[in-house]
Subunit: 355 residues, 4 copies
Amino acid sequence: MSWNTFGRVLRFTTWGESHGPAIGAVVDGCPPGIALTESDIQPFLDARKPGQNKFTTQRQEPDAVRILSGVFEGRTTGTPISLMIENTDQRSKDYSEIANTYRPGHADYAYDAKYGFRDYRGGGRSSARETAMRVAAGAVARKVIGEVSIIAYVAEIGGDAIDPANFDAQEIQRNPFWCPDADAAKRWEALVDNARKAGSSLGAVVECVATGVPAGWGAPIYAKLDADLAAGMMSINAVKGVEIGDGFAAARLTGEQNADPMRPGNDGPRFEANHAGGIAGGISTGQPVTCRVAFKPTSSILAPVESVTREGKATEVRTKGRHDPCVGIRGTPVVEAMMALVLADHKALHRAQCG
Amino acid sequence: MSWNTFGRVLRFTTWGESHGPAIGAVVDGCPPGIALTESDIQPFLDARKPGQNKFTTQRQEPDAVRILSGVFEGRTTGTPISLMIENTDQRSKDYSEIANTYRPGHADYAYDAKYGFRDYRGGGRSSARETAMRVAAGAVARKVIGEVSIIAYVAEIGGDAIDPANFDAQEIQRNPFWCPDADAAKRWEALVDNARKAGSSLGAVVECVATGVPAGWGAPIYAKLDADLAAGMMSINAVKGVEIGDGFAAARLTGEQNADPMRPGNDGPRFEANHAGGIAGGISTGQPVTCRVAFKPTSSILAPVESVTREGKATEVRTKGRHDPCVGIRGTPVVEAMMALVLADHKALHRAQCG
Amino acid sequence: MSWNTFGRVLRFTTWGESHGPAIGAVVDGCPPGIALTESDIQPFLDARKPGQNKFTTQRQEPDAVRILSGVFEGRTTGTPISLMIENTDQRSKDYSEIANTYRPGHADYAYDAKYGFRDYRGGGRSSARETAMRVAAGAVARKVIGEVSIIAYVAEIGGDAIDPANFDAQEIQRNPFWCPDADAAKRWEALVDNARKAGSSLGAVVECVATGVPAGWGAPIYAKLDADLAAGMMSINAVKGVEIGDGFAAARLTGEQNADPMRPGNDGPRFEANHAGGIAGGISTGQPVTCRVAFKPTSSILAPVESVTREGKATEVRTKGRHDPCVGIRGTPVVEAMMALVLADHKALHRAQCG
Amino acid sequence: MSWNTFGRVLRFTTWGESHGPAIGAVVDGCPPGIALTESDIQPFLDARKPGQNKFTTQRQEPDAVRILSGVFEGRTTGTPISLMIENTDQRSKDYSEIANTYRPGHADYAYDAKYGFRDYRGGGRSSARETAMRVAAGAVARKVIGEVSIIAYVAEIGGDAIDPANFDAQEIQRNPFWCPDADAAKRWEALVDNARKAGSSLGAVVECVATGVPAGWGAPIYAKLDADLAAGMMSINAVKGVEIGDGFAAARLTGEQNADPMRPGNDGPRFEANHAGGIAGGISTGQPVTCRVAFKPTSSILAPVESVTREGKATEVRTKGRHDPCVGIRGTPVVEAMMALVLADHKALHRAQCG
């Protein structure tokens, strides 16, 4: 079954294929009375948009969002907010190869195995183009959780990590990598450019921090805040791992090393170490909520990879043309959006039971 | 809001507190006509049960499960299956300390922040005791997906990993660590025993592999198989990270290194490298579905940790008494159960749309 | 698929068969801090309980409810509330006839057609015994909506209706028919007793009124308050029709006759005519929420009815033994419970978005 | 909270306001490989469309539907189907009166009470214009349940009922009232025309019959087929009552009169009386599924009705202009669509558990 809705109370549904006439999202359950116009959403789409520099795909899409419902006289009405982006860069091109050959690392074979056939143009529904609508919906979610600040950044490309000592939040917007470490950004320029020129690709790790989340959000046991974040992040194209707080590193610590001492604070206890990433028992603790997301390298590469045809014959696939050398970079605004969407939903969930 | 149901079509709901009269689960949506008795479930509970050796908590619970509904003349009827375990080892003990002091690393403060007060006895609802019911529900799920074999094992304790070259599936049942590497199991004996004696604790990484999953399970975009696995695993107590296939390691590879070449097979293409962990675009590919789960070290340790009281005063917490030195060990059957539950749900989901 | 959960935010799940060891419900999403003990629930179960007079079935069940989780020191904790009633009156009896013959008007054939076989003892899962757990869950819901008063009563038996001019709320508890009209109650005594003696049965109409519902509850478009009430009421055994406000009578009126004039009030407009039954556009208007529910006559009658066996052979069914001559009577507390459950859920839903 | 999604497995979400730029629906969970084009949907929209004769509102909307996703090369792909209709007849008009005055019988006050303000133009989200998208989604659902035939018709207007003896299915398409009784259609012409000229309005009863539904659809206990039908029908604008089978009439029968004798048939038992309307225990019996739906008279009438302003002052409302004298007429295709949508969802639900 297809299942294109995310969230429990503040929910959104996306639709659309890479090369169809348009893509869209319906955001349902948004509180009424919130100021909202296209200009609240567009900047986030522009940040994700391809073709902005040589480190991302050259596909050109203006990605201009329209609000088709749910807003009246500049404010949300509480009814579903329909968002739509028309697809404009649908190059007429010969898709016969991709139609008959499964691209390794892509969803081509899996979709065929599930549905019997597929819209193969640009990956159809499995294309990362769908994430544009998460970014649009995420912009609405941000308005709902005005008390929270969210920032995501690339912490690692191809195994080359930032130095936490160099962390500068201002830097993130200054380079094409959403990199908070100016030195790392410089290194990555060569790294990513070389990969691009070689028709190769690189994986990345994206970190996301939400500050201002009050203690008490999260719905045990099966809508734990961390579980919903894990689902949301893992559903992003090319993501293969999610960590909350120290994540896998915590598995290598002792109880003493991983302890989160609590001290009296003005507004509830403070846990400065915050190994837990701001979540205990699935509920926010009032500390920053942190997660890390692993993106695999783009599967489309120039080097030939063995594959099979729809008919089951052996073949080989090489990818020429427009592709991101490192999908993690453009995934960064998507991670931010998913954090916003999960938190906005949990704010509503919390209010429903404890409001 | 509390949210104690997991799954979309084949769903289960758990209830119960650590020190209440009983804990239970209701499994809804199970296909009719499946042979099921308590003896199909009990062995899995016995595997998870505490007090079996010195490496796990000494709390003694027979954990005898009863089927209260949904089964008639030894077969499932298609109506909800109610499972219950009575709590028997509820030591009368003085809980005044835990009632007034937040145990660092536990959910005590978060529950209070959310709900205003909490059942503090043994952690109440936030206790890992809840996972017994996942294991019971998981045993039902296994019957639903008879075509699939699932195995979980501990791959790493306190940073000491198994050697894949030593992997022996038979070994897993032979040592108290669910360890597939006899050499590692020997090393862990000292490692975990030392931690136990010192009142310390260790983290662990658990791996889980499901073979026999046909291509086509998984519901894009927001019920992707990997997203649901991530949610299910992250909702287990003490889990801080989830990886599918190569996970974070993939983020350090190039596209060439991470490629999953496909070759013609008898029953669909084969992807021997299977970096993807058997899932592409959120849909199973017919390869083994693999995931890795990070458990933090048990938060209850003998060493004092700074904390605060309910009244917000500084204090210190030391934990004496029965606790697992490494919760990842007893988490292993829970990981296996969650894999079974997610797959059984997705089998139903797939059938609903494409059956 | 089976689907034994009702509600969207404050949800409950029931389980259990007529002749299994127990029946139960899990109420999830209840706000924390509400005083709750078994004695808050038991009176409602006692009201529904069979065997209290000659006008209801002589089956004897003490129906003693136990709270197994979700309550600590007399208050709800916000975690799932597990309620259980042990089945005690499971007469050992020969079920071979009912096992092989479909009782007309019952779910026997439909369950077999769906599931391939069924627990035939006393109707199994399709027995009205399940409604005991709705009454128990409804008692919890009532505590959640302390601002609302709910009253249900029988308005009509076998076509003999109460006279609104005789309506006396005090009377409802004074007769075995939940009848607010003392004259009608007297007439019904003979009517129902004759049906009982003849082995016949009678249909009934139950009305339910909730006062104190504030304006604004209800979630357009597909969780309208009236739509959820319709679903909840129609899911009660033997119910064949639901009306909100004037219901079918409104279909015979002109716009002028059906108009709901509004006048200024202290706390929002007043609509004294209230043809709409307190709901407009699926949202409560602040007026009393009213509905009417049609119960068919009990299908089990002494007169022979043509039927077929499991093997498809023609046969005949006559029902001897313990049965309600008018199921609508014992359905009255169930209608009240469903009203409470729908309203409690919608209070939470409203708070989630607009709280 | 707003809740604009209907269905459990095959689900649809609608969005849009009466006077916004467009309205739309997203149908999720549709099986793949079904032939579908706009021309499969348009005829149903044309049937519902206003302005076709003097018995319905004169608002002119071409209501041309576009499929924006989920269909490739003329067949459904299994991904969400986005349907959109642009609003074209948005007369520029002075809405200041409706903005400040609550129209009795409409949702104006309830929306304000819930959301604090509302899109008042043409009723905004509460307008029956939303039902156009149900009709569009229903056309998709019909393709999913090709084995089922659905027909709805008006059985009663203003208390004047059809004569079952005159029933002629062919007649339904021949008159502007979806009336199967040629004599009644003739009478209604005068009846409705008089109401229209007088600025008055009339209620109606719509009946719907689905034949070809196999035994076994329906998901006890809380997704009973009749409960979901009740919810779906009651959510249609202006509906105040729903009956399954004999409905309220059954409440006036004895058990003998209401009996549904079963006789051996070729394909399961036959129940010729079918008082139950094809559903027992919430599950289809293989007999025709029948329901009746009560529409109140249009609330907008020429006669003055007392009302209040947003500021709570007494006022009076008279409605001039384009309105349906009997909304039940145009509700008929909507009833048909909801029947199709509920059945298609239940086909999938059944397959999920028992497929």
